[in-house]
Structures are given as structure tokens and as C-alpha cells.
């Protein structure tokens, strides 16, 4: 039993406990990690979407501002074309012209001073090869009126010959270009949009043209002033050529002999160039590798009711800027994930413990049981499988205990049988001799005396012969019982054979004490034994040997007691004799 218990697997800190803890903790960590990761990603996704929406809105707003600004420039041109001064310059007699020109120049100055995005305002004649009549240029920080021989002939430029074809109130928008006209002051070699409208005379004939040169860079600076500085601005013409690009080398590439097209850089914009689609969202790697950007491009028509002129306006923002906010979200998420992971580990340990403590209890119970055969307390009240296991185990223990009892009883019976006389229940010869030996050893140590009484039935053969063996047996049983009743409890009555009994009396103080016992026995045997109505008369003859006086060994004592007994028999029975 003990061996079996030691071979049981150890259920302790290493084993199921660790495995269970690891599995539960891993599950907990994984669950919180994945949740964190997905929520982080979802946050990024939402943010990108939101920024995309913002971008589209910003681009549209910017586009609307551009349309409005283009309309306002047109209105400024139309206003100048209608002021009486402009027509007067074109029609008045030469003598008066100088005054009208001065007045108009003052108006041009005013306009330029309130519109920092205007490079130049001019009145150009329809006659005399398109000579400039009144011209004010921006030159650095101040405004400069151009006069005399510095005035140039412009009839060969489209903004003049195209505008002269227009009716009153119509406006010509040039394509956006780099102005190379010599003497253009601040506007020289700068991205320019020209807005022109005819000055129409009384006969309906165009007499001249008002032209406003607009500083495109400045215009967009003004338009985008409240936009986030992270936004990068793109502007293209109808063909997709970049006019504004964060990389200045790519703007106006066609002026440099190389074309840089929006549809090459941002594929998603292609339909806007080819079929005039309204808008496009992009998410791509821009020219510099590894930098992902998102952006939106919007089709911006301009010019009154023409619908033919448009530009494509785009805003992009590097994704890293968009996701800057998610850094903290990421950090927070990471902290939460770590916190939950630790919690999961702690919980796993607790859960594993809770699961293992009944098991440990079971193990302890098994150990104790195997060592002491005692029932320990088991978690039998649990409703789960552990409870079932504990109950089964408890039952098993009880079974085992019951079996053990049975086995012990059986063994005791067998032992008794081997050492006692079946009939009388008294120790048999072998057992008695063992006990005598033990008593001798004990007496020898303590210095006590022992007395051995050899008791032999008289006339037992006659009883057997007269009344049968059963009667003999009954007599023997009665004799044994009377012997036991007569002697002290710690004195031993044994049956050596047939009708021979022996009595060992311990701690004998003198012969008299022994003689009293012997006489008591003889007296007890005087009463006949009742057997089925027959009175069986039984007497006894007793021989006594004492230790150490009559012998120091079992054999000596027995032989001497026997001899004393024979002496009694010869001398008349129903008496006792000491050996010496």
C-alpha cells in the first residue's frame, strides 16, 4: 500500500499546475493582446478615414475659394473695364488722355495695394499693335507705374487677341504659365494666371483690354492660410501637368522640357484628367519611398459659366502625421494590454490553485490513509468532477478499510486457532509453553516466583467410556471454565493434551498462596458436571513446581510439576502436592 502511494505522480507546483497556469495565462495574454492590436488598428483606420474625409472637405473648400477668388478677379477686371476712366483713356482726344491715364493708374494702384496676389494691372489698346496704355506693376514691395517707351505692344499675346473677341462682360482666363515677358517686374518668371476682359465702346466694338496678372503662388498662399501646415498642396492644369508641387522642380515641368503629370504620380487621379471625374482619393507611396501619404484631388472649374476651364487641386498629408495621434493611443493600448496580461497571469495562477487545492487535499488524504488507515477530510461536497472524485475516493477508502478489518479478523481467528485449543478455548500446549517461556524470562528479570500447576482429571476415562466422547468434551469445557473462574485474571490456564491442564500463576509470594489456589481448584471440581441430566463426577490431581526453586527451564518445571501430580494421584487423588 505504501509503495503504491509513493509511485503516484507528484501533483505539486510543477506539472498540471504550471501547465494550466501557462495555458490560461497565454490565453489571457493572447486575448488581451489581440483585442489591443485590433482596437489600435481600428482606431488608425477610423482616423485615416476621418482625415481622408477632412482632406476631401479641405480640398473642396480650397477649390471653392479658388473658384470664388477667380470670380473676384474677374469682377475686378470687369469693374475696371466699366469705369468711365478706362473708356475715356481709349476714346478721349490726345490732349486729355494724360489726365485720364493718371486717374486710371491711381485706380490700378489701389487695386494692386489691396490685392497682394496681383502682379500687374493693365489697360491695353485694341489698336496700335496692342500698346499698353496704362500699366502698373508690382516690383518688390512697391508699385511701379510703367510709362512712355517702356510700354509694350502686346497684340500678339492670346490674352489680348482672344479677349478682343469677347463680348462685354465676358472674361478670358489664360492657361497658367510662367511669365517670360521681359519687363514684367515681380511677375517675371513666376507662375501666372491672366484674367482679361474687353473694354467695349459705344458701338459694341472692343476698344481695349483690361488684364490682371495674378501671382498664383501668392493666391494659393492666401487661400490655404488656415489649412494645416502638414497638408501639401498640388495644383495641375487640365492635362495634369503640375503647376504647384511640394517639389518645386516638378512644377511647370513642361516649361523645362519635361512633363511631370499628376496621373503618373497618383494613378487614382487619372480619370479626373481623362474623363473629367469630380474627385479622387489617394493613398499611396509618394515619390520618396517609404513615405505613405493620403490625399484627395478635386476638379475645380473656374470662369463664369464656361465650364471649360478647370484645374485639379489636391491636398496630401503624410500618413505618419495622420497617425501621430495614434502613438499615444498605441502607448495607452500597450499599457492596457500589459495590465490585462498581468491580470490574466495572476488570475491563471489563482484559478490553477483553486483547481489544484482539492487535488492536493486528495493527495494528502491518500498519503495519510496509506500511512494511518484513517479517513481524512475530502472535498466531497463539491458539485463538480472533483467532488465526484473525492466521493468516489472516500467510498474506496471505506471499502478498503472494511476489507482490511475482515482480513485482520480472519487472521486473528487463524492465529487463535493455531495457538488455542478448539474445544476449551484455552491456549494449547505450544502456546502455553511460549507463554511460560515469556513468563520465566520476565520473572527472571524481576526476581519474582512462578508456580506451574499440573492439573490432571481423575476418572476422565470412565466418563468417556460411560457417557461417550460428547460427555467427555462437555466435562473438559466445564473444567476449563471452572479453572479460569478460579484463578486470577493474569494467571494463564492452558490445555496440554487430553485431560491434562496447566495453570501458570505469576508473582507468587509463598507456597501457601499457591496452595490456596490449588485447594480452590480441587474444591471447584467437587461439584459434578451436569451433562444431559447426568451428574458427571470429576476430580483432579494437582502437582506444583515453582520457579526458580524447582527448575529454571520450561522443561524442568513441566517435568517436576508432572512428577508432583503423580505423587498426588498415587496418594489418593483430589489433592495437590508441591514438588519440593
Amino acid at each position: 500500500m505504501r509503495d503504491i502511494v509513493h509511485k503516484l505522480p507528484r501533483i505539486g507546483n510543477f506539472g498540471i499546475g504550471i501547465k494550466l497556469t501557462i495555458v490560461l495565462a497565454a490565453f489571457g495574454v493572447l486575448a488581451s493582446g489581440l483585442t489591443g492590436y485590433y482596437s489600435y488598428n481600428a482606431t488608425r483606420g477610423i482616423l485615416v478615414k476621418e482625415v481622408g474625409h477632412d482632406l476631401l472637405l479641405s480640398t473642396q473648400v480650397l477649390g471653392r475659394r479658388f473658384t470664388v477668388a477667380a470670380g473676384e478677379i474677374a469682377n475686378d477686371a470687369l469693374y475696371m473695364a466699366r469705369v468711365p476712366g478706362a473708356r475715356s483713356v481709349l476714346t478721349a482726344p490726345a490732349a486729355l488722355q494724360s489726365r485720364f491715364k493718371n486717374e486710371l493708374a491711381e485706380q490700378f494702384r489701389t487695386m494692386l495695394s489691396v490685392h497682394p496676389e496681383y502682379f500687374q494691372v493693365r489697360l491695353i489698346s485694341a489698336s496700335r499693335n496692342g500698346i499698353e496704355l496704362v500699366r502698373v506693376d508690382r516690383d518688390g514691395t512697391h508699385l511701379q507705374r510703367v510709362e512712355g517707351l517702356d510700354l509694350q505692344e502686346k497684340a500678339h499675346y492670346p490674352y489680348v487677341f482672344e479677349s478682343l473677341k469677347l463680348a462685354e462682360g465676358q472674361v478670358h482666363y489664360s492657361r497658367i504659365f510662367i511669365n517670360h515677358e521681359a519687363g514684367a517686374h515681380a511677375g517675371l518668371n513666376k507662375p501666372t494666371l491672366q484674367v482679361a476682359t474687353p473694354v467695349v465702346g459705344t458701338g459694341g466694338k472692343a476698344l481695349g483690354v483690361i488684364v490682371i496678372n495674378v501671382d498664383l503662388d501668392r493666391l494659393f498662399e492666401l487661400l490655404k492660410k488656415d489649412l494645416s501646415s502638414d497638408f501639401l498642396l498640388y495644383l495641375t492644369n487640365q492635362q495634369g501637368d503640375f503647376l504647384i508641387h511640394p517639389d518645386h522642380a516638378k512644377a511647370f515641368g513642361f516649361e523645362q522640357g519635361r512633363r511631370f503629370l499628376v496621373q503618373d504620380e497618383f494613378k487614382a487621379v487619372t480619370p479626373m484628367v481623362e474623363t473629367g471625374a469630380d474627385s479622387a482619393m489617394i493613398r499611396t507611396h509618394a515619390d520618396s519611398p517609404g513615405r505613405e501619404v493620403i490625399g484627395s484631388f478635386v476638379h475645380i472649374p473656374f470662369g463664369k459659366a464656361s465650364g471649360r476651364m478647370f484645374v485639379i487641386l489636391g491636398l496630401t498629408v503624410p500618413l505618419e502625421k495622420v497617425l501621430e495621434g495614434t502613438e499615444t493611443v498605441g502607448q495607452n493600448t500597450a499599457q492596457i494590454v500589459i495590465g490585462f496580461s498581468l491580470l490574466a497571469i495572476l488570475l491563471s495562477i489563482l484559478v490553477a490553485r483553486a483547481f489544484l487545492s482539492p487535488l492536493a487535499q486528495l493527495v494528502a488524504a491518500v498519503r495519510r490513509f496509506s500511512e494511518t488507515h484513517e479517513l481524512g477530510s475530502l472535498p466531497t461536497r463539491r458539485n463538480d468532477e472533483l467532488g465526484l472524485l473525492a466521493r468516489s475516493f472516500s467510498q474506496m477508502q471505506e471499502h478498503i478499510l472494511a476489507h482490511l478489518d475482515e482480513i485482520n479478523q480472519h487472521r486473528n481467528a487463524m492465529e487463535h486457532k493455531a495457538t488455542h485449543d478448539d474445544l476449551t478455548g484455552a491456549p494449547n500446549r505450544a502456546m502455553f509453553l511460549d507463554l511460560l517461556q515469556l513468563a520465566i524470562a520476565g520473572a527472571r528479570r524481576s526476581g519474582d516466583q512462578l508456580a506451574l500447576l499440573f492439573v490432571d482429571l481423575d476418572h476422565f476415562k470412565q466418563v468417556n467410556d460411560t457417557y461417550g466422547h460428547a460427555a467427555g468434551d462437555a466435562a473438559l469445557v466445564e473444567v476449563a471454565a471452572r479453572l479460569r473462574q478460579t484463578v486470577r485474571e493474569n494467571d494463564i490456564v492452558g490445555r496440554l493434551s487430553g485431560d491434562e491442564f496447566v495453570v501458570l500463576i505469576q508473582r507468587v509470594e509463598n507456597d501457601g498462596q499457591v496452595g490456596i489456589v490449588a485447594q480452590k481448584i480441587i474444591d471447584a471440581m467437587q461439584v459434578p458436571v451436569d451433562y444431559q441430566g447426568h451428574a458427571l463426577g470429576i476430580g483432579v490431581s494437582i502437582g506444583i513446581s515453582l520457579f526458580p526453586r524447582d527448575g529454571e527451564s520450561v522443561e524442568e518445571l513441566l517435568v517436576n510439576a508432572d512428577a508432583a501430580m503423580y505423587h498426588s494421584k498415587r496418594n489418593g487423588r483430589n489433592m495437590f502436592n508441591f514438588y519440593s
Binding site: N129, Q152, E153, H156, F161, H180, A182, G183, R258
Partner: protein, 342 residues
């Protein structure tokens, strides 16, 4: 066992490295000389990247090449007259005809490089002919009943506001000199310069507008119903207008038409001369040179052209007396400075 495996790994690591270091060929050319599809074939064949920059005037070409002494480009196309200032300035450098086997496909007159003025200097070959055209007058048959005979037609007040001219300095000074009857349009004397400039102002006053590219010329001509146009790009413009459905005629004026022969040349800044020469050789393949004729209407050096045969006088361009002076004056003319300014 281990060492070869390691070597293999190292080699695998090096392969993308070499793939990244693809050579870039920087070509400076004119519209139609390096079409995207033909460039792509070259890129694939030589595992190179080609960066094409287009110019439409000689002034522009000079501005690009002289800015950093030719460092920005590997190979360029210029006419024989313009080429001289690039050789003078050391921007154009000699090439090795031996590396250009396709020159064997050229017509004999283009193979004899010494017979063409300006290609060979001190025994070194600086350029290989590629395409050529004379610059005549294009007119609208509906508006101009009798074909113009003289270059002076550009100044004809009957066509005022319906004439188109090229926005480039050198040739305009030359044709103004022709119109004025000067002896040598390429050698305007100091005394004559003012007169020629003023004549250009007069030309400007007679114009509808100036154009820079063949495409722009076609658009202006068609949209504004121009009557007369100076064909700076020659047969290329003719082909484009006809493709657009214009009913036009073409004449060589009696003063003679200036003609250009554009050649490929290497710059001193050429990073990979072999690749640049491979480009030149590639353009002399029948498919590439042929596209020049088929698509652009320009003559190539492999096939005989009708243009130059049995025609009136052709005046091959020569280097001019002072290109910078012409450019400076021209900028003012085109910007609209009044006559009194010259």
C-alpha cells in the same frame, strides 16, 4: 558545404544592389525625337533608365546645356550650326563612330561626315546626322489664292493678324536679314543689327502670335484661321497640320529656305559614354529612324527624301555671328518693346 552557401547568400544580397544601380541616360532632344514607346524598348534592351528632356527652341537648348556646362545631360540633338558653339565651349565632345555600327545604314551623303560642315573638327567626329528639314512657308489655300513667293510675305499687311511665326531668336534674325536682302543671313553686321531688329518688330506687328512647339502651331493655326506660317519644324509641322485636316500649301521662298540638319552629340558630362553611343546607334535603326518619318513627317538619314530633291535653294544653317546678341534682342522683340526702343 558551408562556404558555397555563404557565397550564394552574399551573391543574392548583391543582385538587388546591382539592380538598383541602373544607369540613367539623360537625353536632351526635340519633340518627336524620343517617343516614349521607343525609349521603353531601349530601356529594356540596355537595362537602363532614360530621362528625356524636350526643347523647342535653340535658345532653350543652349540655356539647358550651358547652365552647367553640359553636366546635366549625356546626349543631345542640335543642328550643325548650333553645334559649333557647343564644340567651342567644350560641351560637345568627340564620339567613336566605331561604336555606331548602324551608321552603315545611312545614305552615303550622311556617311561622308567630312563633307558636312561642322561635324568634324581637328579630325575628331563630334556628331552624327539624324534628321533634317528645310523651313519653308505654310499657307492656307483658302485664304491665300496665289502661293507666296518671297519670305517677305510674312510682312505682307494683307495678312496682318493672320501670320504665325516661331518664337526663337536665331532663325528669325536670319529670315529678317533675308527679307531685307542682306548678303549673309548668318553674318549680320553690327551696322545692320538695328535694322534687322526693327524689321522683326515690324514682323511682330503683322503677326497673330508666336508659337514654340509644332503642336501649339497647329492649334493656333486651326483655331484662329491663320493664313500664313513660318514652318520652323518644316515637314514635321506640315504633317501635323495635314493630319489635323488643314487645307494647306507649302513653298520654298525665292530667297531660299533655311535648312537644319540635327545631329546627335555627346556632352562632356556624359556619365556612361557607351550607353550614350548605344542610344545614338539605336536611333539609327530602321524602326526608330523610320518612326521619325512616319510619325513626324521628318526626313531620316536612312531613306532618300523627296523634300530636298529638285527643290529651289536650300540654305543649310551656319553658325551665326553672335547668338547671344540675337537672343537678348529677341527677348525684347517678343515681349513687345516698341520700335523706338531699337
Amino acid at each position: 558545404m558551408r562556404l558555397p552557401g555563404l557565397l550564394l547568400q552574399v551573391m543574392l544580397l548583391l543582385v538587388p544592389g546591382t539592380a538598383l544601380a541602373v544607369d540613367t541616360l539623360r537625353v536632351l532632344a526635340w519633340p518627336g525625337y524620343a517617343d516614349a514607346d521607343l525609349v521603353k524598348v531601349f530601356e529594356q534592351r540596355y537595362d537602363a533608365r532614360v530621362e528625356v528632356t524636350l526643347v523647342s527652341t535653340d535658345d532653350e537648348l543652349w540655356a539647358r546645356l550651358s547652365r552647367r556646362n553640359g553636366e546635366d545631360f549625356d546626349v543631345f540633338a542640335a543642328n550643325t550650326a548650333e553645334l559649333q558653339r557647343y564644340i567651342d565651349g567644350g560641351i560637345s565632345v568627340p564620339l567613336s563612330p566605331a561604336n555606331l555600327p548602324n551608321t552603315a545604314r545611312q545614305l552615303p551623303r550622311f556617311r561622308d561626315l567630312r563633307a558636312i560642315p561642322g561635324l568634324v573638327r581637328n579630325g575628331a567626329v563630334y556628331a552624327i546626322p539624324y534628321t533634317y528639314s528645310e523651313m519653308g512657308l505654310i499657307y492656307d489655300r483658302k485664304q491665300v489664292r496665289t502661293p507666296p513667293e518671297s519670305i517677305t510675305a510674312l510682312w505682307d499687311p494683307r495678312y496682318k493678324g493672320r501670320v504665325l511665326a516661331f518664337q526663337g531668336s536665331t532663325h528669325n534674325f536670319s529670315i529678317a536679314a533675308q527679307a531685307l536682302g542682306l548678303n549673309n543671313p548668318f553674318r549680320i553686321t553690327a551696322a545692320d543689327f538695328r535694322r534687322v531688329a526693327r524689321h522683326l518688330v515690324a514682323l511682330r506687328r503683322n503677326l497673330l502670335s508666336f508659337y514654340t512647339t509644332p503642336e501649339e502651331a497647329t492649334e493656333l493655326f486651326r483655331q484662329n484661321r491663320a493664313a500664313l506660317m513660318y514652318a520652323n519644324f518644316g515637314s514635321q509641322q506640315l504633317a501635323q497640320l495635314r493630319q489635323a485636316g488643314a487645307d494647306i500649301g507649302y513653298v520654298i521662298p525665292r530667297e531660299g529656305a533655311l535648312a537644319w540638319l540635327d545631329c546627335w552629340s555627346l556632352t562632356r558630362g556624359a556619365k556612361n559614354r557607351k550607353l550614350a553611343e548605344a542610344w545614338i546607334n539605336y536611333t539609327l535603326e530602321p524602326g526608330v529612324s523610320g518612326a521619325l518619318t512616319k510619325r513626324q513627317g521628318l526626313s531620316n538619314t536612312l531613306e532618300a527624301s523627296h523634300l530636298l530633291q529638285d527643290r529651289a535653294r536650300i540654305i543649310w544653317l551656319e553658325r551665326v555671328e553672335d547668338a547671344v546678341r540675337r537672343t537678348t534682342l529677341w527677348d525684347r522683340v517678343v515681349s513687345g518693346d516698341v520700335m523706338e526702343r531699337f
